[in-house]
Every structure is written in structure tokens, then in C-alpha cells.
Assembly symmetry: C2
Homo-oligomer: 341 residues x 2
């Protein structure tokens, strides 16, 4: 089906016997076009099989109607949902979303941001892999378009909108819940400090203990990556220690699968031998036996909100602002009375 050359507006104009600019006006439905002109041009468009070239249009217009989305791990269902929410919202506003992935690498963060800049996307939604990296900040500073961060705090970047989730509240209620059940040897398995969610969870985890006049169990903290493998290793490690935990908090859905694998290998039963809380709802948390207590939040909504904040600035020319998505503790059978020791 290869045609020799795509028809252009000029071809349309020639075929219709009108000026190029008139074709443009018709296509952008400019107020000053007669019905007759509209008819002729539309006819010619159909005749020659014209299709707009959005590249040329964007170049001239200075706007691509495209938004870049950078996720730190696209295969994580959490990000898939955020992306879904964002895409839906952007699509409504006639924007196309370019989804890219840094796979946990700060270096790729930089490359992707640069690439999106060069492609002249009209705005960016970012969930970078490393908030602290200097190079990333440099790339961001060169940016000339609105930015929305998702659950990230990049210091030095003051003119970005931010969507965060209320990790503090969620983690707080999780720890309180466990303490109330009689647990004090609570392990926290979480991701790297370069990322806000991990930092927040850790901060509040410790604080929750202190507020109850308890010493945070530093020996039960395991800070690694957000991967399943990291979760599995950390759990095995904890279980092999002198004083293993009676409860665990997994800081993400990938970590959770690692934790569960490890528990299964050690033949421990969740809810009976050890209490378990996870972060972010996935099918597994609900359908596990026993069902797993979880700190939940609405990921699709986060994406939607991110797109919203971006559009505010793009269309409405509003100021950057912060939005917080609530979290809530869903208590299930994985957290019960602590075993007597």
C-alpha cells in the first residue's frame, strides 16, 4: 500500500483551486471561512486523501500536544495504574502521552528527561528513580515546560507541581495497629532512601514508636531496593536473626511477593506465625490466604490528579501546587493478636 508521497495541504489547495492558507483555515476552523470554501476544501481533502502532518504543525505552532511520562518501573502495577489515570485525563484534553521508563536507573532518568525535552513535549509527569541525583536536577532546570512530580520531592526544583500520597498517615495507622495488637518487634522492609515514599515510611515508622515511648527496632529495618528479590532476601535475613520479628511491613507490592516467597520457604504461616502489612492494594493482597492488611491508596486517581495539575498550568496558566492523595489502612486477617513469646 505504499503511496509515492503523502498528500500535503498544498496538494489540497491545488486540487481545490484555492490558497494554501485557506486550507489551513478550514482545517483549524477559523471563524472567517465561507461555507462554500469549506465544502470545496473538504471535498479536495477527501479526493486527494490528505492527512495532517502533526510534526510540521507542531514545529510551526510551537506546541506538540504531547506529554512525557517517566516512570521508574513500568512493570510495577502501581505505575501502570498511575499511567492509566494520567492517560485518560490527558486524552480528554487532546494530549498524547509518551510513556517512558527509567527502570530504576538515575542515569536513565537523565537521558529520558533530556530526550523528552528535545522532543519538545509540552509538559512532563515524572516519577524519577533517584530524587537526589545532581544530573537529574540539571536536566530538570533546563526544562522550560511545566512539570508534575509523582510522589517525589526534588529539592531545588521549586516550580513543579507535586502529587504525593499521605504515607505518613497510612504508616502511622499501620504501626499503631500492630502495636495495639501487642507487637513491638516489627520489621520494615522498604526501598531506597532516594525515594520519597521509602523515606516517609521510615520516618513515620520510627516516630510512631517514639510517640508511644518505645524504642524503634533499628535492627529490624531492611532498606534495599523495591524489587521482589530484595524483599525475599531481606525476609530470609530477618528470619535468620537472633530475634526475628513478630510482624512485618512490606513497603510495596513487589517487595510483598518477595516476602511471601521467603515466608513460604521457611514454612511460616501469615497471620498465625507472623503478622504482615503491605503497601498498595493488588489482587494478591485481597486474595491471599489469609487476606493481607494493606495501606491502600487510589493509584489511578493519583495519575488523574497529576494530569489535572499539569493541565491547569498548560491550559489554565495556573501556578504550581501540591496535592495529597489519602491513604487508608484496610485491616485483614494477616494482622491478628501477637503470638505469646
Amino acid at each position: 500500500m505504499a503511496r509515492r508521497r503523502d498528500a500535503t495541504m498544498e496538494d489540497v489547495a491545488n486540487h481545490a483551486g484555492v490558497a494554501l492558507s485557506s486550507v489551513s483555515r478550514v482545517l483549524n476552523d477559523h471563524p472567517d471561512v465561507s461555507d462554500r470554501m469549506k465544502q470545496r476544501v473538504m471535498g479536495a481533502i477527501a479526493d486527494v486523501g490528505y492527512e495532517p502532518n502533526l510534526l510540521a504543525s507542531s514545529l510551526r505552532r510551537g506546541s506538540t500536544k504531547t506529554i512525557g511520562f517517566l516512570a521508574s518501573d513500568i512493570s510495577n502495577p502501581l505505575f501502570a495504574e498511575i499511567a492509566l489515570g494520567a492517560e485518560r485525563r490527558l486524552d480528554e484534553a487532546e494530549y498524547t502521552m509518551v510513556l517512558t521508563n527509567s527502570e530504576g536507573s538515575g542515569e536513565r532518568d537523565e537521558e529520558m528527561i533530556r530526550l523528552l525535552r528535545w522532543r519538545r513535549t509540552d509538559g512532563l509527569i515524572l516519577s524519577v528513580s533517584d530524587e537526589r541525583r545532581a544530573g537529574t536536577l540539571v536536566e530538570l532546570a533546563r526544562l522550560d515546560v511545566p512539570v508534575v512530580l509523582i510522589d517525589r520531592d526534588v529539592k531545588g526544583l521549586d516550580d513543579a507541581s507535586v502529587v504525593t500520597s499521605d504515607h505518613a498517615r497510612g504508616m502511622r495507622s499501620a504501626v499503631d495497629h500492630l502495636i495495639e495488637l501487642g507487637h513491638t518487634d516489627i520489621a520494615l522492609i522498604s526501598g531506597p532512601r532516594q525515594l520519597r515514599p521509602a523515606r516517609e515510611r521510615l520516618r513515620v515508622f520510627r516516630r510512631a514508636f517514639r510517640d508511644q515511648q518505645l524504642e524503634p527496632p533499628e535492627h529490624l529495618l531492611r532498606i534495599g531496593s523495591f524489587s521482589a528479590q530484595s524483599g525475599e532476601q531481606a525476609t530470609l535475613d530477618l528470619l535468620a536473626s537472633d530475634r526475628p520479628p513478630t510482624a512485618m511491613i512490606a513497603g510495596g507490592n513487589l517487595l510483598l511477593t518477595g516476602v511471601l516467597r521467603a515466608l513460604r520457604r521457611r514454612k511460616l504461616t501469615v497471620g498465625r506465625d507472623i503478622a504482615l502489612v503491605s503497601c498498595d492494594e493488588v489482587p494478591l493482597t485481597e486474595l491471599h490466604s489469609p487476606p493481607i492488611t494493606v495501606i491502600a491508596r487510589d493509584a489511578v486517581h493519583m495519575g488523574d490528579l497529576a494530569a489535572e495539575l499539569l493541565l491547569e498550568r498548560l491550559v489554565g496558566d495556573a501556578e504550581p501546587r501540591r496535592a495529597v492523595v489519602p491513604t487508608s489502612l484496610i485491616v485483614r486477617d494477616s494482622t491478628k493478636k501477637a503470638r505469646r513469646r
Copy 2:
């Protein structure tokens, strides 16, 4: 940080006191450039803070170095993995992937294909929501760039490469396995016939029975959408029927969560009260109690392969071809001896 106007190659040329075309040659490292020229231009680029405009470049060059990916449901972890595989591969070859989503709507299939065409992507990887839709075929026919279909058969589209998975083999061994365990009342819960995977599974499901001189249990077929809700409804429906199944096959990971919800509601235990097989490995299948027998395939590899087939045609100028990804049955505790009736 808003600069008045981005620096262009012309600014670089002026600053360096050379011609615009020389700057271009340096940037595209053309063979005929002296070292001295290279130095001067590079210096000027740094001085004025020049950054390439990929829009203008693409327009002139006639290639965007961009590939469109259309998924029928991006929030499905299966597609997330396929996208991941494809993106990795494309990224190596310096292509950017634009990920879009038709959310199960054939109408959006059309719109998205049209949009990608207008944006002049160099190639497309498609997993459309409806293979049979006439409008989609029209949009595809207008396309002038290589296309790879993922697990879809669009008849009338002869010049596309295709990556499929060997559903036949997987389904065949699943049914054989269940029959061998003594099951004959086997239910199949699957997606719409517009999609190849569903069609293939159904075809082979029936055939497997006939090959064993058995009548396929038509009353236990439930063909709906691929959603969790559809799976739940179908299961409840089956369980309420005169002669409920002793085994079930769920044709996808979303369907599976629906099936499990329904079974839980009816207080049935997987593996004891009813045998269960699912399609596509997810954390839930492995970590469920009991673990769920599954027809598995390597989704990341499928994406990788799709990108590969596309690059073959883009870079290597090869002919379209078909590739098949194997499936394998992983037997777990969810399929055991049939209960005596």
C-alpha cells in the same frame, strides 16, 4: 528558568562564525569535517546552550525515530510486561516508544492508530481491542509503515509481522491434564471471540475433548470480557447451575481474580472443592494457597520479539514474518484428583 527563546543551530552558527550547514554536519558527524571546525562548533554549542529540536529534524529527515505501541489494556500486568520488553529493545536501537491504550474499545483502536499515523511514527506495535472491526482495517490499510501485531490476527492485513503465543499447545496440555485427573465437567471462562487468544483457547478446548472421544461441555463455556468482573459473574453463574463444573480454566489474570473472588464468596476451596487452571503467570498464581496451575509464557520476551521484528523491517529492510512464543503448563496444587461425584 524561562529563557526568551531556545537557541537554534543558526545561533550556534553565528556565534561560531560558520555556516549553518557546517553545524549540521558536525552534529550528524558527517565524514567531511575538519577537527578545527568540530572544535569551534562544539564550543559554540556549549556557549549558547544549544539543544536539538527533534521536531524540525524529524520533519526534514522524514523519520521520527518513534514507534507507536497500542495496548488493549495497559493496566493489565501482561501488557505492562510486553511493553517493557518492547521498550528495552527499541531503546537500544535509539527509538522512543509512544505507549497508548485503547481500553478495550475498538473505536479507540481506530482513533489511536490514526493519531499515531498523523504523528508520523516510524512503525507500530499493535495489540488491538477488536481484530474484526472494519474501521480498524481501514486505518491500518492507510498506513505506510511497518506493523507488528501482538497475539492478534487481522485478516486482510497481509503485510504485517506477527508475534503470537502458542495458545494451542498450552490449552491442549491443560485440558489433557484435567481429563487425566478424571475431570470432564470443565468450565472455560474466557474473553471475546474478537481476540485471537480467546478464539484459540476455545477452539483447542473443544478439540481436546473431541480427540478423547468426549463431548465438549458447551454448557460450561462462558465467553465475556477479559475483566475481573466478568470472571466473577461467570463463576457465580456456573456455580449456580444444575451441574456445576469440577474444574475451571480462567483465560487471563484479570479473569482469575474474579474467579477467585467468586469461589471465596461461595466458600469453595481451590484444589479441594474445585480444580483451577489460569492463563499467564502473575504473583498471585504462584503465591495463592494452594498455588495455581498455570499456562505460562514469557511476556517480556513477546515484547522484545515484537520490537525485534519491527526493527528487522525498519533497519534491515526485511520481509514481514511470524514468530511464535511457546507456552508451558506449570502444574501446581490447584489441580488434583477429581472429587468423586
